[in-house]
Symmetry: C2
Subunit: 208 residues, 2 copies
DNA sequence: TGACAAACGGAGGGTACCTCCGTATAACTA
DNA sequence: TAGTTATACGGAGGTACCCTCCGTTTGTCA
């Protein structure tokens, strides 16, 4: 007899996995592009599956949102992993932060997404907080070890600063401001240890 | 010849005015009651007018939202006027603040409303800021004049505190906390001048 | 009271939501 | 490889909502 105990997950079929993946990709695209109110049928169309399939995988709009969000957090984590494997620590951190800004910037339907995170399951909140903190930690630790970053800023603090930057700038045309602040942040991290600051990040500074 | 210059508004018909009023009332009710996504057809039904009439008065969902919001700000202002005409200043202020809490509490569809205020026309933002500040000023000045309130808190500051209370508590079951904070606020205003503090507001205090 | 601009109502065409069930197929067995 | 079956798929269809358009009604003014 096959090991098919009542409680272990019975391993989904290959097409099921594939379709789930497609839906996630499609949803990411549609949600980003559209102005806030994307239709689920559009997502299904984009994914090349029937509407029924969408609903089987994601019974409610929220589950789909949540999955997309999770997926993006995972990708950010993966990027951090990759970036922290080599290259200048300050540049790596800057790149990762920029990726964050860009991600948020393309989220036209972000309003709903943000609501989800703010009012949604605390499980999801915890997950993303933990994951993003870990991502930042990876990037940060390397720089600290190399003596490039000051050592008195924790990953949690940095994450909060990041959220603050996004939140406070939640107006039109916020991206330039956010990017500038991100640069300030990285510069600040570097400078106060007396470490060499990458030239690029100094360019914008005037007198003062 | 009738004064009907090309630019002055040609004075709307009586039924037009009446229907607009009805729609506003209906919308307030529906938006408050419903869970975030009220249908415009429901509003029209509730108002007892045809859907076409709704669209003629409020071409988009946003215009309707905005009108409702304006209307409520006006009512808050009127309430402040009434309250500041007599009675204990502290009690008046408390009543007004409580009205605020209750108003926000019934706004299930508040999420959208808040979005409107945050991202909407700055004209509307200015209007409500000005109106609410004026309302608070009325209530505050009287108490200051009577020596019941401390005099070093401006209406603007109080308004900001209020917004902060609402915003920070934007979770489930926030109303008790918000009401408590409002009480703390009023008590604080009174206490620090050495003025008598209404008994009610002390009741909740335990040791410490 | 008559004439007409202004306002009304709601039918209708289009889209999106979500369910349900007949059909297809991946996975496993002999 | 063929047969079997649980699993997953697709999309038709009923409902609700959006918004426009236009024939009808009504307030207003002379």
């Amino acid at each position: 007899m096959k090991a098919k105990s009542a409680h272990s997950s019975p391993k989904p079929r290959a097409d099921s996995i594939r379709n789930r993946e497609r839906l996630l990709v499609a949803a990411t695209k549609i949600f980003s592009a559209d102005t806030g109110h994307a239709s689920l049928e559009a997502v299904a169309r984009q994914a090349g599956v029937g509407i029924g399939t969408l609903y089987r995988h994601f019974p409610t709009r929220e589950t789909l949102f949540e999955a997309v969000y999770r997926h993006e957090v995972e990708q950010l984590f993966a990027l951090a992993e990759k970036l922290s494997r080599g290259g200048d620590p300050a540049e790596s951190l800057r790149k990762w932060l920029n990726a964050n800004v860009r991600l948020v910037a393309t989220k036209k339907g972000m309003v709903e997404a943000l609501q989800l995170v703010t009012h949604g399951s605390s499980e999801l909140k915890n997950y993303s907080f933990e994951r993003l903190t870990a991502a930042i930690a990876m990037l940060l630790d390397r720089g600290v070890a190399a003596g490039v970053f000051r050592s008195d800023v924790s990953p949690e603090e940095l994450l909060r600063a990041l959220v603050g930057i996004f939140y406070s700038q939640a107006a039109e045309k916020w991206q330039p401001g956010a990017l500038r602040l991100v640069n300030v942040l990285v510069d600040g991290l570097c400078r106060s240890t007396g470490a060499r600051v990458p030239r690029r990040s100094l360019r914008r500074r005037g007198t003062q």
